[in-house]
Amino acid sequence: MENKIDKKSTISAADLKRLSAEAEQEAAPSGFTIMAREFIADKPALIALIIILAFFIFVTVASFFIDVPKMMETNILAYYNEPFTKDFFLGADSAGRSIAKQLIVGSRDSIGIALGLTVISSTFGICWGMVSGYFGGTADLVMQRVYDFMMIIPMLMTIIVIVTIIPNYNAITLTLILSCFYWMGTSRLIRSRTLAETQKDYVQASKAFGTSNLKIIFREIMPNISSLIIVDTTLSFAENMGVETGLSYLGFGLPMGTPSLGTLIANANDPENITHYWWTWLPAALEIIILCLSISYVGQVLRRTLNASQRRGKQEK
């Protein structure tokens, strides 16, 4: 910067430094600074964030110490062991398998699938929405028809049918199958924002300069809607937690013998379990409730940062 300044300029180097420092202070804070401030101002949000992160780390680390095939072995001596006894912190199910261990491994798988699903479906939805909104015209029309069609498909039923057709599948294929059906909400939102953004002057100017379309979409429009993308991704992550667990609950999620939060809750389908052996399913249900509430609270706080008038974090003067 400094060497580009005209030699005849009267501004001294010290002044220039001071001025640019002032200018930086005056400039609007970046998205991440606003988000960080918002979390410091809103204590419950900070707690929610800490709960989520601590839980994720605990589950990932703890599952390294668990021998999954051994855990899933039937142990008739531990038939419905009560919780808070030796070796069975949360009791055991009808096959004598430790609920606490299943919970840890199951959470790891369920969270992993929800994360994968969110990343894949959001990426796809964002690309779809931005391309559709940016180009408009025939491309938009065709893409919108595809969107309309996806919306009328009975999602849950189709997924169940596909899962029964495929003979062998694992967590990764399941994530891919689910991703085909959960990108529509994101794409709709991103499309409408991209439509508005495309009308703005900077995009028109860039077009006039001859910048390539791809570069305009991903280097110029995308940074401008990045905060919307972050918020939408967080909120859809909370929703996606329920997708795989719900399917596993019905018995069409992860293959048999793989613990998942959903299969643990499915223990409640047995009237015996739901009334007498509450420890077989209640911890998993509570865990999903707490996780979903925390994630979506973080999402709500992020959403607040989008709207300047709703922010609670203080601006430093």
């Binding site: 009975p154 049918v161 329920g242 667990t245 399913w281 979506s296």
Partner: protein, 319 residues
């Protein structure tokens, strides 16, 4: 106006065709064939092949698809291999149960959502508003099936207020007792569905009320001396009501999707449970019929909503 409706209906046709092809191909890919269920020692391999041949199961898929569509238009959805009954009869029996539940849930959703939305909008920024916001946030975040499981545990098994399985108890005879028993079975799933399904209505109505509160026409009416309560009843509420009514079509999609979970948890013999059973028994005439029916109902729902919205909002009409 008519142009919009006509255009919307015309768009529907290709969607329906693509959906039916998709459903048909999915059904074709399912393991097993329609006669696997009827294999018995007296029926040899050749006879099965013969049956498959005379039923056209060795034809190319487009031929089979065409036959299937022709049958569909004659109201013939095939015979269930599990129940040995025409699929259409099965759906008639089970569909009534699902519709009862869906109808009740929808009424309750609006009965809870409308007042709450207006109430929150009226008291914007106050404690009441915050409470309603917390309610919508909680109901939105928790997965629906967990709500159902916890709900049936507390109210069905724990407090023992509501029945936990079935749609009508066997002891109920005559019109009155049957109706009461039916309602008793519907109340818990319906109320849970309604309590946890109001988010869209409340959020939309709240922002609508807040927007109209600061609009010119409300200020004009207010300066005329009309009391605030009457403005809410006659002006703001009426203006926000039609778009809300239009959402009813879209909410069919949600209700039908949720019906699988509800009926599973409450062992409620409706179409969702029929579907799950059909999947377990590979009863694929029932599966195709149900997927197609749900898709068709979704289509009708969105059609209805789009038409109502285009009546309400002239901006989205085709000129």
């Amino acid at each position: 106006m008519w142009k919009t409706i006509l255009r919307r209906v015309l768009i529907m046709i290709p969607e329906l065709v693509v959906l039916s092809v998709l459903v048909f191909l999915l059904a074709k890919m399912m393991p097993g064939d329609p006669f696997t269920g009827s294999i018995n020692p007296r029926l040899g391999q050749e006879q099965i092949h013969h049956l498959m041949r005379i039923n056209g199961l060795y034809d190319p898929w487009y031929q089979q698809y065409w036959n299937w569509v022709v049958h569909l238009f004659h109201g013939n959805l095939g015979t269930s291999y599990e129940y040995h009954e025409p699929v259409i009869d099965l759906i008639k029996q089970r569909g009534a149960n699902t519709l009862w539940l869906a109808f009740f849930t929808m009424i309750m959703t609006y009965a809870i959502g409308l007042p709450l939305g207006i109430y929150a909008g009226k008291h914007e920024g106050k404690l009441q508003d915050t409470l309603v916001q917390i309610y919508t946030y909680v109901t939105m975040a928790i997965p629906y099936f967990v709500v159902l499981v916890v709900g049936i545990w507390i109210f069905g098994y724990g407090l023992d207020i509501f029945p936990t399985t079935g749609s009508v108890s066997a002891q109920a005879n005559g019109f009155g007792p049957t109706l009461i028993s039916r309602l008793g079975h519907i109340i818990l799933p319906g109320m849970l569905g309604a309590l946890f399904g109001t988010v869209n209505i409340v959020q939309y109505l709240r922002s609508e009320v807040i927007d109209s509160k600061h609009s010119e026409y409300v200020k004009t009416v207010r300066s005329k001396g009309v009391p605030m309560g009457s403005i809410y009843r006659h002006h703001i509420f009426r203006n926000s009501l039609l778009p809300i009514a239009a959402f009813a079509g879209y909410s069919i999609t949600g209700l039908l999707g949720g019906s699988i979970f509800t009926e599973m948890v409450f062992s409620y013999p409706g179409m969702g449970l029929l579907f799950l059973n059909a999947i377990n028994f590979r009863d694929y005439t029932v599966i195709t019929a149900l997927v197609l029916l749900y898709g068709f109902l979704n289509l009708l729902g969105t059609l209805l909503s789009d038409i109502v919205l285009s009546i309400v909002d002239p901006r989205i009409r085709v000129s």
